[in-house]
Symmetry: C2
Subunit: 221 residues, 2 copies
């Protein structure tokens, strides 16, 4: 299955091929060049076996080798493997993947996890973008989220997709950036809910403070 | 107490004086000119006693007299009495004040309610903006929200205000637009929570579907 990245924004670099041998997701048993990332990159904080492209993308923006990258650097780093995500999506990704104790910055380990997750989502997106238009509609979004393990009510789906309605009356379609944004909102909120429903009963009791603390980070992301 | 609206964006029109006799909030017992809005504006849907400025602002943008205004029209209509709010704030206001059964549009009655609410919030904002800088800091935001009836946990306040941190290391300050956005997020989420906690116990039991349906509209607003 080849993917025509040209259907995305013209500035986007070629997407990694999810089925290619060099693709970092699922985790390769050893790394691309047959030696550990540690060995070739000094005191790297990347997990063993991290694909060199992931390390290169991170180091390209972390010029002072501080071991952290900020929002705009993350935007640039991901653009080498995926595309230039909107700042809204980048903020959401950073919020969901950064260490909760850190301020707004990403470490190598978290960057590798994010890169892998995006690889999986790209594969799902491509599977449901059957006509290779670079866009999926609301029913395809529902199926894509379902295949990621999220069964969301139709009313929620409708509200979610209304974000991308330009008011022209045309059928709403999502590009990969918007798909990632939608999916990360659903993933993030679902995980927060599950924390409060550890036995998966389908309902949770929340105090007002907990409720507010759970949600507001999503609003400011 | 006079308010120097010059400290806001230069394009902002003069703010209504909350203590002036012509100010539409709190509701005047009769309207400004001593006759009902209905009489002077034909088949108006404005409540009796609506201030003519509110009606004028609405009708200025509702050129076809359809009785509805959309997002960008709301932005323009409010700019005559307050300032030009960001589209993010406008979407949040529309979501919170429109009839839930309507799509993204505002009717006269809702517009009048929104205008009144903003008048109250402007008065609160001015009270806490003690140096008349046109900005309030996080502690003033906390006190302002408290005076509106919302006691939010410090951790939530911190996350909320981080939205407006430009990363420069300077103390975060909010202009009226950001204050309204913050306040409306708190107001909206609190009201949603209260619906599920009608006896005000401070905690609520939510199903996953309810939880998602409650929150996602705020994320897409």
């Amino acid at each position: 299955m080849s993917y025509h990245s040209q259907s995305y924004a013209p500035s986007a670099p070629p997407a990694p091929d999810p089925n290619g041998s060099g693709y970092p997701y699922p985790p390769a048993p050893t790394n691309y060049y047959g030696h550990t990332s540690y060995g070739s990159h000094g005191q790297s904080d990347f997990p063993p076996g991290t694909h060199p492209e992931v390390i290169r993308s991170f180091q390209m923006v972390d010029r002072d080798r501080s071991g952290f990258i900020d929002e705009s650097e993350l935007q640039l780093a991901l653009s080498s493997g995926y595309q230039r995500f909107s700042l809204g999506t980048i903020r959401l990704l950073m919020f969901l993947f950064k260490n909760p104790r850190d301020s707004l910055r990403i470490r190598p380990k978290e960057f590798a996890a994010l890169w892998s997750c995006l690889g999986q989502w790209r594969a799902i997106f491509e599977r449901f973008d059957r006509d290779r238009s670079g866009k999926i509609d609301s029913m395809e979004l529902r199926d894509a989220l379902y295949s990621l393990g999220y069964a969301i009510p139709p009313s929620v789906l409708q509200v979610l997709i209304s974000r991308y309605d330009d008011g022209s009356g045309r059928r709403v379609e999502l590009n990969f950036d918007s798909f990632v944004e939608c999916g990360m909102i659903v993933k993030g909120l679902t995980e927060k809910f599950k924390e409060k429903d550890p036995r998966y009963t389908g309902s949770a009791t929340l105090t007002y403070d907990t409720f507010m603390s759970m949600i507001i980070p999503f609003l400011v992301a």
